[in-house]
Symmetry: C2
Subunit: 339 residues, 2 copies
DNA sequence: CGGCTATATGCTTACTCTGAGCATAACCCC
DNA sequence: GGGGTTATGCTCAGAGTAAGCATATAGCCG
């Protein structure tokens, strides 16, 4: 439900059409002197989707028994948003984070606690190398999105639970157009009814489930309580932020060499492939994957071979950091197998 | 220069390694009761990169004689960030904005006026259909980035001014590694020395010029004042935000059908092509462009032909809005001509 | 009317990219 | 040495795409 605009807002904007949002000459003063009350009630939070890959699983750092993403207030001492986040996270994990990227900034009204209080949440995606020890807080992100893991074929939960629930939701819509529209969206995002699975749509899928009232976070809109899906949830909109991070990372590994931020200094090509597969949630054609990685000169041989091997020993590679300077717009494309 | 962390920050984070950024159990209260002072000094601004294409030129809405992007405080009355921005912009332009997308959130310290005051700037990209009348405030974005327009071949400013200035900057670096690194970055981003031009690197190019002290905004680092480049500048970091918007839009038109947000209801394929070319800053192979647009079924014929034509009359098309529902991950790819 | 110009539109060709599969190599174990 | 396992090399066919040739349809001008 849309709240009415406050009288002050109305007065400001209705006086002149095509008037600049902010009057000329006042740009440098970010808070207009006339409206000091506006600054009072805003708090700024930083939220991190911190990702590592261990044991063949993509992990995300969580708190509170997996119910929340790490977050904390943005402080004046921080030079910038990113450095604030980076400092915190590096203190947590002891490793430097190679890669930090801003995800999205949220400020929906229902996020804050009381009225008149508002929180801006700036979320970041961070990649870190897996630590050898198993630390607390790291959870497989497929605990939260079991339908996103297609590495062993289509997850049973889709045909078993999601598809029927989504169809019921679609058919509960009022009007033929709405019904058709809902079902089409379900088919497109979840690859139902002959559609193909697109791993990059993780966020859209979660949002569709939210809209359909099929996740606990959307409980207010949900009809009955029995139609939920068996997956781990999170407080507030943290699971949505996680979905945002997953979608962004899945898209990014295809055109930027960011996977290497998750890898140890040296690795075999199969390890690299498993890492990509863990993130993408789907399998990759081995030979084509090697071809792509090698012909793009993303890696170079160390001359050694991997220890503790079962079959033929694999060569060890390291990331060619030079590519970061040489080119801007390349990455690891995924030669995906047809299902 | 990196500021020291405040004592409070140190105390909070140094007590326990691997401690959660925010203690378990306190997630829903976005501002911790123990730190009410942090919220006091933060203001939130919305900044818009509002784009239209008129007269074959990509235009951006500006204020204050082209020196600033429209911006304004985020208010409590706004339901969400995006709705706040959307409401404002629609009141300005009278047309509904078809497309709004968040760009980036900035909070660098030097943005605010006094110490102890901090501004968070959340920037958005908005697309609107060109209005027939020529309104004030719309400026070609190539006024700000003349090196970005390759539609008539390589802009003279690159070989004439930028390349020499960048080379001088590179050679002024201390140490062979730094010198080589600087020059390599210049070559990659600007396509110098046999490299190819990549129109999506608009932001990196601006940032390189900033770092080299070649734009007035980076004046503090600039050596002499005479080495600037003849282009229109903006206050604060507004030109950087504009570059962010340009880069984002140039990338997006290749995989999402957002160009149509800038087109009138019906148009010829050449008009569509000119619009894409204006945004991308480079020419496109006509026949291949048509093939791509048609075989992706992005448009449908209206049955009419364009009036006021010079040569053979062109068919009129309209955007097939159905594609937005049918597919998620398609768009207008650019069959770019080789230079 | 025929030629000229300008745009629109159709078609072909060569080349690259990529999904997919076959075949071989190098190691371990028994 | 045979079987199992992983690594690695190579080929092939189909899709996608950059580029160019050719034709169609209009206005204009002599």
């Amino acid at each position: 439900m849309i709240q009415e605009e406050s009288p002050r807002t109305k007065r400001r904007t209705a006086t002149a059409d095509h008037a600049p949002i902010r009057e000329a000459g006042s740009h440098t003063a970010s808070v207009l002197p006339a409206e000091p009350a506006l600054a009072r009630a805003v708090a700024v939070d930083l939220i991190a989707v911190l990702v590592a890959v261990t044991g063949g699983e993509p992990r995300v750092m969580t708190l509170d028994e997996g119910q929340a993403l790490p977050s904390g207030p943005f402080e004046l001492a921080h030079r910038s948003l990113q450095s604030g986040l980076r400092a915190w996270v590096e203190q947590q994990t002891r490793h430097p984070i190679g890669y930090v990227e801003q995800l999205y900034t949220f400020a929906d009204k229902d996020r804050g606690s009381d009225a008149g209080q508002r929180t801006i949440s700036i979320s970041y995606l961070g990649l870190t190398r897996a630590s050898s020890e198993r630390e607390a807080g790291w959870r497989s992100w497929y605990d939260y999105f079991p339908w996103e893991d297609w590495r062993s074929g289509e997850p049973a939960i889709i045909a078993g639970r999601l598809a029927p629930l989504l169809r019921a939701w679609a058919e509960a819509g009022e009007g033929g157009t709405l019904r058709r529209d809902r079902w089409q969206r379900a088919c497109v995002t979840f690859g139902l009814d002959g559609g193909t699975w697109n791993e990059e749509l993780a966020l859209q899928r979660y949002e569709l489930l939210y809209e359909a009232g099929l996740v606990p976070e959307g409980a207010r809109r949900a009809a009955a309580g029995g139609d939920r899906i068996t997956a781990r949830a999170m407080i507030a909109d943290h699971r949505r932020i996680l979905a945002t991070g997953i979608a962004r990372l899945r898209a990014k590994i295809k055109y930027r060499p960011v996977v290497f931020e998750l890898m140890p200094p040296t690795f075999t090509l199969l390890q690299l492939q498993r890492c990509v597969e863990a993130l993408a949630g789907r399998l990759v054609h081995k030979q084509n994957f090697r071809r792509l990685v090698e012909q793009q000169e993303l890696v170079e041989e160390t001359g050694e071979t991997a220890p503790e091997t079962v079959g033929r020993p694999a060569k060890l590679f390291r990331f060619r950091h030079a590519v970061l300077a040489e080119r801007e717009a390349i990455g690891t494309k995924l030669p995906l197998v047809r299902s």
